[in-house]
């Protein structure tokens, strides 16, 4: 589950776990983006990732694969304080 972590002045950030999505030079970028966006298919494994978070008074670090064995709803939204 999400574990507590220390925070400093840097903005903590997360990213994919395992295979790194490499930033490559110009011409290859388009194809990479295509491959990246095709990583999501119903009936297929969700790509693992780790990300910092806030939960009930604590700063935490969460990893999707730590939730294996449970049902997970992963929700993205445009931004805090943005009305909807």
């Amino acid at each position: 589950m999400a574990e507590e972590m220390e925070v400093g002045c840097a903005r903590p950030t997360g990213g994919p776990v395992g295979e790194s999505v490499e930033e490559e030079v110009n011409e290859k970028k388009a194809t990479i983006r295509k491959e990246v966006s095709s990583m999501i298919h119903v009936g297929k494994k969700a790509p693992d990732f780790a990300a910092p978070g806030y939960q009930q008074g604590k700063f935490v670090s969460a990893k999707l694969s730590d939730y294996l064995g449970k049902w997970v709803l992963l929700c993205f939204y445009p931004g805090d304080f943005t009305f909807v």
């Binding site: 997360g14 978070g53 806030y54 939960q55 009930q56 064995g69 049902w71 992963l74 939204y77």
Partner: protein, 132 residues
């Protein structure tokens, strides 16, 4: 999960969300500064620099069973998400022996696919059952 920092998440929870939900948001509010995770899930809007309203149902084996992506101005229907989770849970518990027809919700009839049901769905499922 959004592109906001964990610090902004805390402020939003403290100052607004905790006024909507007693005790504040119970689950982790994740930060995806830079949109790296949003990109791999195909929900990051490069031009706007924010995530669209993506929602993924991931089962206990880590398999994506369903997703929905909306542009920012329209909110989700949480009830429909829960209905889908309940349907996927039922299918999983039955080890695939049962399926949930259109409009299914807990308490409504399920289908048991097999030779006897071919061409006979009309006998057990009526069109009005697609609606509440």
């Amino acid at each position: 999960m959004s592109i906001d920092s964990v610090f902004v998440h805390k402020m939003w929870d403290d100052n607004e969300l905790s006024k909507m939900v007693d005790g504040g948001v119970p689950f982790p509010m994740l930060s995806d500064t830079g949109g790296k995770v949003g990109k791999i899930f195909g929900v990051f809007d490069e031009e706007a620099g924010v995530e669209n309203r993506g929602r993924f149902i991931i089962d206990p084996d880590g398999i994506i069973q369903g997703y929905e992506v909306l542009t920012p101005p329209v909110g989700r229907n949480v009830g429909e998400t829960f209905r889908q989770v309940q349907a996927f849970q039922l299918v999983r518990e039955s080890k695939g022996k049962e399926a949930t027809p259109s409009g299914w919700k807990p308490g409504k009839v399920t289908l048991k696919p097999g030779p006897d049901l071919v061409g006979k769905v009309w006998e057990v499922w009526k069109t009005e059952m697609a609606f509440d």
